[in-house]
C-alpha cells in the first residue's frame, strides 16, 4: 500500500466524518434542497471527465466516453445547483404585507 493511497484513505474517512457532522445539523425542512444540493456537489465527478478527456492523445473510444461523461457531469452540476437555488429562493420568512398580492401572479 503506497503512501499516496494511505493519504487518500485518510482524507476520505475524515471528510466522511465532517459530512456526517455538518449534515446532521440540517433540519428536516431543508432536506429536499439538501438532497438536491449534495446531488449537485457530486457533479464534481466532471473534474474526472475533464482530466481523462483532456489527457487523451488518441483513441476515439476514450474520447467518446469522456465527452459523454462531460455532458452528464455538466448536467449534474449546472442543473443541480440551479434547481437547488430555485427551491431555496422560495424559503422566505414571514412575507411583508405589500408583496403578498403581487407574488402569486409572478409564480404562476
Amino acid at each position: 500500500m503506497s503512501a499516496q493511497l494511505l493519504t487518500n484513505v485518510t482524507i476520505l474517512v475524515l471528510a466522511a466524518f465532517v459530512g456526517f457532522e455538518v449534515i446532521s445539523k440540517v433540519p428536516t425542512t431543508l432536506h429536499t434542497p439538501l438532497m438536491s444540493g449534495t446531488n449537485a456537489i457530486h457533479g464534481i465527478v466532471i473534474v474526472g471527465g475533464l482530466l481523462t478527456v483532456g489527457a487523451l492523445a488518441g483513441g476515439w473510444v476514450g474520447v467518446v466516453l469522456g465527452t459523454v461523461a462531460v455532458i452528464f457531469g455538466t448536467i449534474n452540476v449546472v442543473g443541480g445547483f440551479l434547481v437547488t437555488d430555485r427551491m431555496l429562493e422560495m424559503f422566505k420568512g414571514r412575507r411583508p404585507p405589500p408583496a403578498q398580492s403581487a407574488d402569486p401572479s409572478k409564480k404562476a
Binding site: 428536516t28 439538501l34 446531488n39 464534481i44 474526472g48 489527457a55 487523451l56 459523454v68 449546472v78 431555496l88
Partner: protein, 459 residues
Amino acid sequence: MSVWITLAYLLAAVCFILGLRFLSSPRTARRGNVIAAVGMGVALLATALQVTHNWPYIILGVVIGSVVGVAGARMVKMTAIPQMVALFNGVGGGAAALISTADYLNSAGGQGPSVLIPVVFSAVVGSISFAGSMVAFLKLQEWMTGQPITYPGQQIVNGVIALGIVGIAVYLMTTGSLPAFFVVMVILGLVLGVAFVLPIGGADMPVVISLLNAFTGLAAAATGFVLGNTVLIVAGALVGASGTLLTLLMSRAMGRSIGNVLFSAFGSARAGGAALALGAEGGTVRSGSADDVAVLLAYARSVVIVPGYGLAVAQAQHAVRELADLLEKRGVEVKYAIHPVAGRMPGHMNVLLAEANVPYEQLYEMERINPELERTDVALVVGANDTTNPAAKETPSSPIYGMPIIEVDHAANVVVLKRSMAAGFAGVDNPLYYNPKTTMLFGDAKKSLTDLVNAVKNV
C-alpha cells in the same frame, strides 16, 4: 500538479463544507448553495488548466450539458423535484461509470490494485446509480407503474447478478487488462441497478434516490482515488455521508428499517389483516359538505393543517394557502403540521408550501405540533393518510405500527379531505376515519379546498 492547483482544490473542498454548513438554516441556505457552486467553479477552473488535449470535445460537452441542465432546472415544476433530483443523480453516476471505463480502456487496466480497485468500484457503483436512478425517475414521473414489480425468486436473481459482478471484478484484479470483461461488468451493473429498484414502490423512491445519491458520491470519491485528485475524494465522501444519513433518517421517519424499504416490496397490494377486520366491523364514517366544514373552520380558534402526498399530487398547495389566509383574516390561528416524510420526499412539502408563499415560521415539525394538537379546535388533513393513522400507535399488529405520526386524533375535531376511502400507500385502513370526531370531505384535494374557500367567504 502545481501547488496552486492543489490549493485551489483545497479551497473548493472548503467551499463545499461551508456551503453544506450554511444549509442548516433557511435564512442562510441559499447563500450556502451559492458558496458550494463557487467552490465547483474554482475546482473546474483549476482542472481546465491541466487540460492539454481535446478542447473542442470538452467545450461541446459543457455546452450541451449546460443547455440541458439549465432547461431542466428552469422548467421543472416544484411537485416534480424528486424525479428531477433522481435524473441529475443518475447522470452523475453515469459520468463516474463512463470515466472509469475510459480510464480502464486507456491505461488503468494494467495497473496495480490501488488503481484497479477504485476503477472497478466506481464503474460498478456508478452504473448501478445511473440505471437505478432512471427507474426511480420513470416511477416518480409515472411513465411506468409506481407499484412494486415483483416475481418469485427475485432477490435470488438479484443476488446472482451481484455475485456475477463481484466474480468478474475479482477476476479483473488477478489478470491483465481485459476490456471485454470490464464492459460486461458495467452492463451487469446497469442490469442490477434496474433490477434492484423495480420491486420498490413509488412512494419509497425518495429513500432509494437518497441511497443512490450516496452511491454516486462514493463513485466520485473512487474516481478521485484513480486520478489522485483530493477534491473528488472530499466531495464524494461528503455526499456519501450525507446520502447515507438522509437514507437512515427517512427510514426512521417511516418506522421501518432500510432492509424493509429496499427488499420487502412494501406497498404492494397486500391487504393487512387489520384493514379487513376494521372494514368488517363497519365503523360509521361521517361525511360532510363543504359548507359544514367551512362553518367549523371559520368559527374555530385554532386550525392545524396537515398536508400530505395527496396535496402534492393534486397540486393544491396554492389553494390551501388561500384557505389559510382567509381563516387568518377571520382571526383563526393557522399552523401547518409537517410529517418528516410528507410529500414525496422529506422536506418536499416545505418546498411546495414555500412556493405557495407560506412563511416557514408557520410550518411545524411533527415533534413540535403534537403537544399542541390537544389544544387545537380543528385538524384539517389534506391528502395525508398513513402519517396520521392512530393504528401506528395503538395496533401492534398493524404493518405501520411504530411509525411516528401526527396525532390529529387529539384535536377537538378532525376534517379529512380525501379522494375516497381507499387505503394509503401502506395498504392499511385508517381508524381515524371511523372516529366520531372526524368529518370526511370526499373529492379531489384541490377542488375540495376551492369549495371550502368559497364556502368560508360566505360564512
